[in-house]
Amino acid sequence: METSIRKHIEAIKNGDVKLEEFVSEVLERCEKVQSKYRPFITINKKPDLKKSKGKLAGIPISVKDSICTDGIQTTAGSKILEGYVPPFDATCVANARKEGGIIIGKTALDEFGFGTFSTNCAYGAPKNPHDPERACGGSSGGAGCITAAADFPHIAIAQSTGGSITAPAAFTGTVGITPTYGRVSRYGLIDYANSMDKIGVIGKEVYDAALLLSVMSGYDPLDSTSSEEKTDDLTSYVGKGIEGMRFGIPKEYVSDTTDKKVVSGFMKAVQKLEVAGAKVEETSLPLTKYAVSSYYLIAISEASTNLAKYCGLRYGMQQEIVGDFETYFSKVRTAGFGKEAKRRILLGTYARMAGYRDAYYLKALRVRAKIIKEFKSEFKKFDALIAPSMPILPPKFSEIDKLTPIQTYNMDILTIASNMAGIPSLSVPVGKADGLPIGLQIMGDHFAEGKLIQIGSSLEGR
């Protein structure tokens, strides 16, 4: 079966694809991938095929399980939402369906997005198709996994708060685009940290990501933080060339702690950019060292309020009612949340408490404002900033087990600042080391997705 989206679209146009047969074949293949790598929490056995026209007509789409799908179980990767079937579609899903996209399943993630490797998974961690002993990266691990493993045309709707698209894209050798905050409506996204959550795409090629992102983008009256900025057809930027562009490499992003093999793969790609006519210089983002701690303060503060609603009253997990409401809520939450969710609720509640609020939560907000300024001034000098996507190659599950929470949080160092600033970034695969993929990320100014696609596509192919 053809895996290229462009070729698949062509085949559909030529009438070479019988939709029902095609979809049942795709679902069979999903089952096979599932038994090998576990990318899904739910496979949608009876997808809606009624809408057969549109920009995504006949294209299988997977959806990260933190994004609501009408009539299909949505768990956010947590036991506390097991069996929950939303009564509505997230706006991005509705947009994809309107354009003929076929929802084939819901992909695995760290519970509520709380993780860097997709190992905090209540329904099992997805395995890396490049080496099943290794993790896919998180939190959109299932999206990266199925995109890499699919032997059929497919694009994944993913989501990032602090790097959850770039990490799995880098570790699974796929393309991941994290758009500008507000570019895609968050309506229907189960919140992690609302001020930083962004719905994006993981695809096999830059074109695929550009196509699905174009369909999902745009103002949505249901999300007050969605932007009214017009979105053009992002696929038109693919292959436009980068002659004369200027790129900066923040020196803080290529440090002694970055894996040497990652650095060498990255540098080879930089040469490729120079050959294509770009000018590359070193630059500096001195505030990077404050990014991880302030990111986690904001994220957990928001997350701890977002998770308050899960208490076994209206949806999701329920328990036998004994005692007063506090006893009942505690019982449900103790049983329903995993370890990392509990950790973030406790830390987040602490960071918001009177007496600590000023020193932690409010201070972190001020740091964010400064980080945004720092990026903005860089984009006066450069068309984009480039860096390795992740500081390491995809780690083994056994290695991850040994990491402390702080060590894990520090793995986000290369993705946190741009995610906090709400600027877009695109991660593209740039070769392998020891058979494992390496990713390069391109960070651009707010709403500069088109330019990122232009740059990213110049690194594709030989």
Binding site: I67, C68, T74, A76, L81, Y84, P86, P87, F88, A90, R186, Y187, G188, L189, I190, D191, A193, N194, S195, P221, L222, D223, S224, T225, S301, E302, S304, T305, A308, K309, C311, L313, R314, Y315, F325, E326, F329, T349, R352, M353, A354, R357, Y361, L365
Partner: protein, 469 residues
Amino acid sequence: MMEPEVMIGIEAHVQLNTKSKMFCSDMSEPGDAEPNSNTCPICLGFPGSKPKVNAKAVEHGAMIGLALNSRINEKMFFSRKAYFYPDLSKNYQITQYEIPLASGGFMQLGETKIRIRRVHIEEDPAKLVHDSGEITSANKVLIDYNRAGVPLAEIVTEPDFKNPRQVRQFMEHLSSVLEYLGVYDPKREMSLRVDANISINGGERVEIKNITGFENVEKALSYEVVRQSGITRMGAKVERETRHFNAEVKTTSALRKKEYEEDYGYIFDPDLPMITLTRKFVDSLKANMPELPEQRAARLVKDYKISDYYANVIIYTGKPMADFYEACLKLENKPEPIASWLVNYLLKSLNWRSERIEDSKVKPETFVELIRMIEKGEVTERYAKELMKQYVDTGTSPKKLAAKEKFALSESDMLKIVREIISKNGKAVSEFKSGKGEALQFLIGLVLKETKKQADPKTIKGIIEKEIR
């Protein structure tokens, strides 16, 4: 015994009468809707749903701020107030914390100035229905989310009240202001609720939660003054706690101890970006502010020369009453007698029936008939009062009522009777002509007897004097 020094501050919660809820498009006034039928994923806090600010509620809130002489803040945020309680669908309430919609301000109550600390807008929680009817004894609770998300304005005062009576007066004035602004529906149950903080002689403050009804506010606080005074007289200390007012027995009872300041872990609601209330927006609200009750009371005194007392009673009974008064004046320009009959008798009859003017059968056209009859002396004051009761009960035109019941005599009837009496009592007439006052009283008495006291002595006196001279 020395009067205790009382200090009271209140938080008044007003349900704004917008069409839709604060953050979603469900109806704001579900009426008798089936429990939990007027809900959607947003007000039920379903995963993935997001709030959306109701602009009308912001406008209403800003109008309240302006009416209370507050400053409208240019930049406005919403925050999450986090605490676990079954009436909160998200286990946090979207409210305003650091920067409220409006800050500062005051309300003048005669000589007393009550300072306003802030006015902010937020969402109403769901309604909890306790199976035994009382929060303190129920062992099961039902939740009705129809009310969840109804827009509320919270008005917080400084602790400037010196007695429960002032609080009641404040609430009556506030209710009137809100009614004039057209931002709330006084007939809606629970549309105006009060949390009151009260301390005596500088002791710990006690919070009484969720009192509805102005009389209840005064009763609850008066009960607290007595209770707290009792405790201090015994040499004990008042404990810091939250209490509940039981409207049935008019007492308060302890809900929970407050050993420390509650910590709600406020954060900015990241789903709701900052809202800028421009100068233009505030100016246009100011330009379109309706006449407020205080201004209207002053105008009634100035234009119609009625007493402050009458003007205040008419105004603070409610807007429909003031509208009624002015409608009557358009038909019959007699401000003083109309005000007097309205305040002294009409209101009493309405109160007796527990009726509001707008729901009653009383109409300006028929009410002024009564005033005209009184003014012309066609009915005595005593009969007019009786007539008033019947009129309020039935709504029948007082003229018709009087004709039916023979409450009134026409002028020609009266003249006929007087002439007959004069012709039959020549002696008394001549005594009167020679200056004997008692003779006139005698004649008046005879007429009264003849008319079965349906005529007014003053009117009779006038007619007799005219006839004899």
